[in-house]
Symmetry: C2
Subunit: 279 residues, 2 copies
């Protein structure tokens, strides 16, 4: 089978890790673009990409993976859509979908190009190509948000990418459901980590901390430019989930205030049963 | 050097793990007591203890480790104090100190017995002897809360226990400071885990979750009888720290509500810098 050519735009942690994993799979020719030329050099030296992008690369690609911040992805797609051949598959890796999938689809469709919104569920608390890792997606979930008009062949092309990088499962859903679930599974833990380490006690934790401190604080080291964009592009779902969390915390607070042991036990038991039931 | 005899009262996750580690160190003869006779049998079969406790064990012990819930520890100490020899060292492993150290000290001192409040900073999201592990305390912190009248020899005896089970450091502080810090490093993550998994989204997380979900939810499976006691015995410090956390979360919520990107970036940056500075 002939190898497909994949243009990866943005060789940071996610794009760089995808490049490494796809190249290693032997099934794709990976071409790499990044606004930082030194990063492209590093990716080439590391064997993550077959070659750097040149002015023909968008037109030669079978698949384009946009591995940049959401609004940048939309902008780049607008700029380059005229270069793409019909039936090229364009996909992204953004942590929000509602805010960009409709725009990207509207940009692509008149050109016969197929956009498949996607979000591989893996990450690190470090950014940049220097932390890229070809094993990052091993056993991860890869979420796809096609619509009713997305051709099955395009969805399959992205599904194949997910399998080639070692994902354990592909989840197909709507952009709205993606955003609601990601507010809970990913954005809330990041807001939490930042909130948690903002306590004055954080400065004194050494000698008093164990696994729980480490786990809750781990993802506090995020880039504020990217994540403020991600949070704002998912304002409603994240806001609702934050209200949900604050409500539960306040319930513990209220039970403590009045020293209501039965209520505390009830709250703890409910959480324990959720975790035991849902894993 | 003659081996010291340690009576461990309560062979659950913590007491059982201490028994295993102390026995393995070769420096102690470990005698085990538990209200469940089958647990004592299991500990004996596992080689965690040299022998089960008998009516003479409290009187024969050089060191008594109370590995039960806080109020139970105080009760047991009251019942058995008359059996202890002068200069016996009594220590505990409870997650709160202010509520019991003064009481235990007052029980011990008239008998010439030395109480050293202690809290080894390690745990698991599972309870009971069947999850005990002689490596549980490896590289952990062991917190001690002696007062000005505690003899240095008694403090050293517990310090030796901490080193024998593989701890990396001993932290000496007051009961009040212990409780303030533990509210932050341990109790808050447990309240958080329970609150987090109480969201309706929890039931649907499979296919949308990665490391962050796992980390935040991990310790939700706690025993409500023990932890409601621990939370209530540390009401003030935990309540204050919960207010602190809710305040930070609310700040994110408010910035989202008015779509204030500068403020969001400021909040994220502050958290990132705390984590980078304090680890």
């Amino acid at each position: 089978m002939e190898k497909k050519t994949v243009l990866i735009v943005g060789l940071g942690l996610i794009g760089g890790s995808l490049a490494m994993a796809l190249t290693r799979s032997g099934k794709y020719i990976v071409v790499g673009a990044d606004c930082c030329l030194q990063t492209v050099e590093e990716a080439l030296d590391a064997g993550a990409i077959a070659r750097p992008a040149d002015p023909n690369s968008w037109g030669e690609a079978d698949i384009v993976m946009l591995c940049v911040a959401p609004l940048t992805a939309v902008e780049l797609l607008k700029q380059h859509i005229g270069e793409l051949r019909a039936n090229t598959v364009v996909t992204d890796v953004c942590g929000v979908k509602g805010a960009i999938v409709a725009d990207c689809t509207a940009i692509c469709r008149p050109h016969g190009v197929h956009f498949v919104g996607a979000h591989p569920m893996a990450g690190r608390e470090k950014n940049g190509f220097e932390h890229a890792d070809g094993d990052l997606f091993r056993q991860a979930s890869y979420i796809l948000t096609p619509d009713a008009d997305t051709p099955e062949t395009a969805v399959d092309a992205v599904r194949d990418l997910a399998m080639a990088v070692g994902c354990a499962r592909v989840t197909v859903t709507t952009p709205e459901n993606h955003d609601r679930m990601i507010a809970y599974t990913s954005q809330i833990p990041h807001v939490l980590a930042g909130s948690y380490v903002s306590s004055p006690c954080c400065a004194e934790h050494v000698g008093y901390a164990a696994g729980s401190y480490r786990d809750v604080s781990r993802v506090a080291t995020i880039d504020e430019t990217l994540w403020s964009e991600l949070f704002l592009l998912n304002r409603e779902a994240l806001g609702a989930e934050l209200d949900e969390l604050i409500g539960h915390l306040q319930a513990y607070r209220d039970a403590l205030t009045v020293a209501d042991r039965d209520r505390l036990q009830e709250l703890i038991r409910f959480g324990r049963e959720c975790k035991q039931k849902f894993g």
